[in-house]
Symmetry: C2
Subunit: 321 residues, 2 copies
């Protein structure tokens, strides 16, 4: 079966991103290693531009637009990191961008998105559909829609973070990646399984939103209600049409962690590693640090996917007891 992306797509994406994305550092913690008995390598995408790995996929996708697409521009709907990733990428590539966001989105996120020069179109989450609004504007203005994960160029771009991690630290026994819609893990698994065929690739979902775990077990895409979890980047209700077959082919297992484990991991990152990591960004690390995944004696790559969290909320979570 032919998968939607190949290792060559990830490698090409890496070339497109080379001068634009940060090559984020890989950090280690002897405390974490002592606690787990593993060698853990944290790939810090919270230190990526816009504070999350989403920049990699967005920029890769937009840089492949035709001249005509580029002239007309891009549209996306998101209240999260994808919005800022598209807005910044469009600014860098000098193309118009429209971002459809809920009118009750945090003022900081609206301001950041507008700060990158994007036009923000607000909608009422309770009475309007962002998909309908997005499609209407796209068709009226001839804009190209870039979805947050179910898109080959987005997946390939996101996979560059595993490529860099393996280039930097060498062989890994396990690669642990958070799972929302499956874009990040699809790209990362594509890179990892090509470079290190024996490396296990494990996804991590919030316990309350384990749709991908269930989908892989049941062999088809399972839809769930919006999960109640602090991991807002993993509140997706189903895997993508493109990401699912890649995960079926290349992901060895999916485990889950609870919200209290995410909070404990967030505090660990802040106290011991001096890093601000958002709840979704703690998923993979929580599984490695807190026993959901057996890692002792292994070399384990851990993707820390992002660090975008309101400071008041962050403060409340890390200072809580």
């Amino acid at each position: 079966m032919t998968l939607p992306i190949t290792f060559e797509d990830v490698r090409s994406a890496a070339l497109r991103l080379a001068d634009t994305a940060h090559r984020t550092p890989v950090l280690t913690s002897r405390t974490a290693n002592a606690r787990t008995g593993a060698d853990l390598f944290f790939k810090c995408e919270n230190l990526q531009r816009i504070g999350a790995f989403k920049f990699r996929g967005a920029y890769n996708a937009l840089s492949r637009f035709s001249p005509e697409q580029r002239r007309r521009g891009v549209i996306a709907y998101s209240s999260g990191n994808h919005a800022q990733a598209i807005a910044l990428s469009a600014q860098l590539l000098d193309m118009p961008a429209v971002i459809v966001m809920p009118e009750d989105a945090p003022a900081m996120k609206l301001a950041a998105t507008r700060g990158y020069g994007a036009e923000v179109v607000l909608y009422d989450r309770y009475t309007e559909s962002r998909e309908e609004i997005g499609l209407r504007i796209a068709s009226e203005r001839g804009l190209t829609l870039v979805p947050p994960y179910d898109h080959a160029d987005v997946m390939a771009g996101q996979g560059t973070c595993a490529l860099e991690l393996i280039e930097d630290v060498g062989a890994l026994d396990v690669l642990v990646v958070c799972v929302g819609g499956g874009g990040l893990i699809s790209g990362c698994a594509t890179a990892a399984k090509h470079l290190l065929p024996g490396c296990m690739v494990v996804g991590v979902e919030p316990e309350a939103g384990n749709d991908v775990q269930r989908s892989l077990r049941e062999g088809h895409i399972v839809h769930i209600p919006v999960p109640r979890t602090i991991a807002d980047g993993a509140q997706t209700q189903h895997a993508g049409q493109l990401t699912f077959p890649v995960m079926q082919a290349l992901v060895d297992d999916v485990v889950t962690v609870r919200d209290d484990q995410l909070v404990e991991t967030m505090r660990f990152f802040a106290e011991r590693m001096k890093l601000v990591v958002e709840p979704t960004g703690c998923l993979a690390a929580a599984a490695a640090l807190d026993g959901a995944l057996p890692v002792a004696g292994r070399r384990v790559g851990v993707i820390v996917s992002g660090g975008n969290i309101d400071m008041v909320r962050f403060a409340a979570l890390v200072a809580g007891s």
Copy 2:
């Protein structure tokens, strides 16, 4: 005039530290560059072992002990990062360590110091002198005292952070370094002026504790009362006998910043760069970001010295308005 340390001392320290200290990443922020018009390079010593540059000096000093000194052990008095730096270095070099700490020191710091295997001796800050206690125990047990900054091996070890920064990013027009007792800036200036004779080296003190600024202007070491500032690592009351002549020879200027600028910088690091930085660690960045120092059009190295701060306090500071 012969200075207490030379570039060769810094280079030798770098060799001793090579397999033990983290080579900390140098991070950049386009937001910070856009705001200042400069190219800022942040050397992240908050990501160093024990969360601060102090590890470099402590480990360098202890690794130069004679076999007899090593057998008997080390003593230090500190309630801050130096305590943990000495305790961890002694553990790594397999020698006994005694740390004299105030009995009202935070429980977390006591636990961390004991966690590295050091013996903690408590004293009453209001009725006892830590110097007297330290000297008495040192003489009774034949321990070697390592002070936090006024020691050639400590200064040379701390200078390795500027050496690494310059190796990683190349030429700099300005290097900005926080100043407490002057150990870090002495070592850093020694490295910077050797590698880049045209590079300005600028120290930053809290406005309330500008003893080094005054000392350099007046040409002798000025003593001040304990300054009231949140930059607890820079609450020193006077420069050292060894650090002062190095600063006189190699530091071009000392500027000051206010506590509210430190808080604003701490929030900038957390929100925009996803880093936990302690108040003292924000001194150099605050001067570069907030206008105390003209940096537009220049390549500027900024030492981010540490990230050790209680999470409750950190939360209160970054979430405040």
